[in-house]
Symmetry: C2
Subunit: 282 residues, 2 copies
DNA sequence: ACCGTTTTTTGATCTGGGTCATTGCGGGAG
DNA sequence: CTCCCGCAATGACCCAGATCAAAAAACGGT
C-alpha cells in the first residue's frame, strides 16, 4: 500500500477543485498568486516546464528562439471549445501546455467515437498531415492552454534545425507506438485491464510533469472513457466501484486517488513482457 | 454482384501458386521470364512501380537519385526470416517492395501479439525512432523483397530535400491515422466487421498496386489474423465459412476471391461517416 | 507414398460485458 | 431552498464470441 498523497480532501475542497482545474493541475501546484498567470501565458519554450516532453527537447538556445518565434500562444480554451473540427484544413499542430483535449470522429448517426485523450506535453493534429484535413475533431475537456505551431513553418524550420526534425519524428514515432499499444489493449485486454491502463497513463503523465501520480482529477466523463476504451458506460461505472471496493482506488466523482499502485500495475500487466523500451508503456 | 476476376482457378493452380507467390503477386503479374527477376532486384526508385505509395513520391529526378543512392537492396527474405527482433537497435526503416511482413511483440509466456501486417509500399520500423530500439519484431510472411533505408542518412537527406521530409512525415502521419482507425475497429466493431475491414484493406492495397482487388492470396495464417484482430482462430474460421455461404467470398485455403465487394463494404461500414479524407479507409 | 506435425474446421458449452431499465446524486438556475 | 437535468451507479437479463474438445485437411520431411 502506497501513501496516496499529502492529505485527504474534504468534499468541499473537491467541489471547488472540479470547477476549474482538473487533471491535477490545481492540486499540487505551488501557491502562486493569480497575477502571475498572465505572465505564465507569455512563457517561452526556454522556460516551459514541459520542455522535456515537447518539441524543444534537445535544441540549443539559438534554435529554441527560432522555434519560439513561430509558436502562437492564444488565451486558454474553455471546456467544450474546439481546436478544430472534422474536415478542417490542416494548418497547425497544437502542443498542450495545461489541461486536456479529446479527439473524436462521429458517424452518420451522430454518435461520437473518441479516438484519443491528449495530456500536457503531447501534440495534437499529427494525423492530418497525410490528407491535409483533420480526420477528427478536437475539443478541450477543461480549461486548456495550448501552443499553436503552424505546420508549414515547422516543416521549414526543421529542415535546417536537425535537432528539431529529430524531435518531431520522435514525437510522431511515439504516437505510433502508443497507438500500437492501444490496439493491443483493445484487441485482447479485459475491461479491468483497459481501465487500469488508462489510469496508469494519466498517472505517468502526472509524474512526468512533477505532479503526484497518486492523485488527480479525471477531466473526461465516464461516457467518454467508455467510448475511448470500447466499453459501455455502465461497465466503467461498475469497474470504478469494484476498484474502490478492492481498495485499489478511492473515487469521488471526478477525483481519483490511487491507493495501491502496485496492484493497479499488476492488473494492467499481468504477464506482459517489459517491451517497455523507453518509457512509453506505463 | 461484381465480376470476381478473369477466371476460376482449379485446385491444381492454387496448390502451385500457394507455394511461392502469395498476396496476388504471382497471379495477375505479366508473364515475364525468370531471368528478368534478377534485373528487377536492381530496380531503382525511379522505375519502381510503388513510386506513388512510397518515399519518392513528389521528388524530382536529381533528388530521387540521391535517395536511391542510400537505399540498400539485398536479396529477398524467405518466409519466416526476420527483418529485426525485439530490442534490436534501430538502424533502418524498410520499405516493402513485394511480399508482406508481420510485426509482433510477445509476452513472458511467449505468446505472440501481432501488431500489424505490412503490405507493399508501406514502411516498417517507424515505431522505433523514439526509443532507438525496435519495440517489436518483424518477419516475412512470404518471400519478400525490401528496400532498407538507413535512418540516419534518411534524416540527413530529408533536411535538405524538402519534398522528402514532407513525404516522410506524410507516411508517418498515415500510419498514425491507420492505427487510429484500427483502434476504433477493435474498440467497437463486431468480428464480422473486423475481418471485412482487413480484407478490404488488402484489396485496396492490391488495387493501388494495379492488381485485381477481387482476388488475392492471404499470406498470413488464420491464427495470425485472429491474433491481429483480437479474435479467436475459431472465430476467423467460422467467419470465412459464413462469408462463403453467404456468397460474399470464395475461400480456398489461402486463396480469396471477393464475389460481392459491395456487400463486404456494407458489412465493414454499416453507418460510418465517410471521414475517409484521403484514401486511408477502405 | 507415408507419417508425424501443424493448421483449419466444426460443434457444444460458457461467460464477460453489452443492453435495458431504474434509481440516486450533485450542481446550476431561479 | 427547491426543482430540474444530466451524469453516475446498480440490478436483471442476454448474446457475441471465447473456450474446450475433437475431427479433418494440408504440409514438410524422408
Amino acid at each position: 500500500m502506497i501513501d496516496p498523497g499529502q492529505k485527504i480532501w474534504s468534499n468541499g475542497a473537491i467541489a471547488r477543485a472540479t470547477g476549474q482545474h482538473t487533471m491535477g493541475v490545481g492540486f499540487v501546484a505551488s501557491g502562486k498568486p493569480r497575477v502571475v498567470d498572465m505572465k505564465a501565458l507569455k512563457v517561452a519554450c526556454q522556460t516551459c516546464s514541459l520542455y522535456e516532453l515537447c518539441l524543444p527537447l534537445g535544441l540549443e538556445n539559438k534554435d529554441l528562439d527560432e522555434l519560439d518565434r513561430i509558436v502562437k500562444r492564444q488565451r486558454p480554451l474553455q471546456r467544450g471549445n474546439y481546436l478544430f473540427h472534422v474536415g478542417d484544413p490542416f494548418k497547425s499542430v497544437y502542443a498542450i501546455r495545461t489541461g486536456s483535449v479529446k479527439t473524436y470522429t462521429c458517424n452518420d448517426e451522430g454518435d461520437e467515437q473518441v479516438t484519443g485523450f491528449h495530456l500536457p506535453g503531447e501534440l495534437v493534429g499529427l494525423d492530418a498531415i497525410t490528407s491535409g484535413r483533420h480526420p477528427c475533431a478536437a475539443r478541450a475537456l477543461e480549461t486548456t492552454s495550448l501552443c499553436e505551431i503552424p505546420f508549414s513553418r515547422l516543416e521549414e524550420l526543421s529542415s535546417h534545425i536537425p535537432g528539431l526534425q529529430r524531435q518531431l519524428l520522435r514525437l510522431m514515432s511515439r504516437e505510433i507506438l502508443e497507438e500500437q499499444n492501444m490496439m493491443v489493449w483493445l484487441g485482447k485486454k479485459t475491461a479491468e485491464q483497459r481501465l487500469a491502463l488508462l489510469l496508469l497513463r494519466i498517472a505517468r503523465n502526472q509524474h512526468e510533469r512533477h505532479f503526484s501520480p497518486y492523485e488527480f482529477n479525471l477531466s473526461m466523463s465516464r461516457t467518454d472513457i467508455g467510448n475511448y476504451l470500447g466499453l459501455a458506460v455502465e461497465t466503467i461505472s461498475r469497474l470504478f466501484s469494484r476498484f474502490q471496493q478492492d481498495g485499489i482506488l478511492t473515487v469521488e466523482r471526478k477525483h481519483v486517488v490511487i491507493q495501491d499502485m502496485d496492484r493497479l500495475r499488476q492488473i494492467a500487466h499481468p504477464d506482459d513482457c517489459p517491451l517497455d523500451t523507453g518509457k512509453v508503456l506505463c
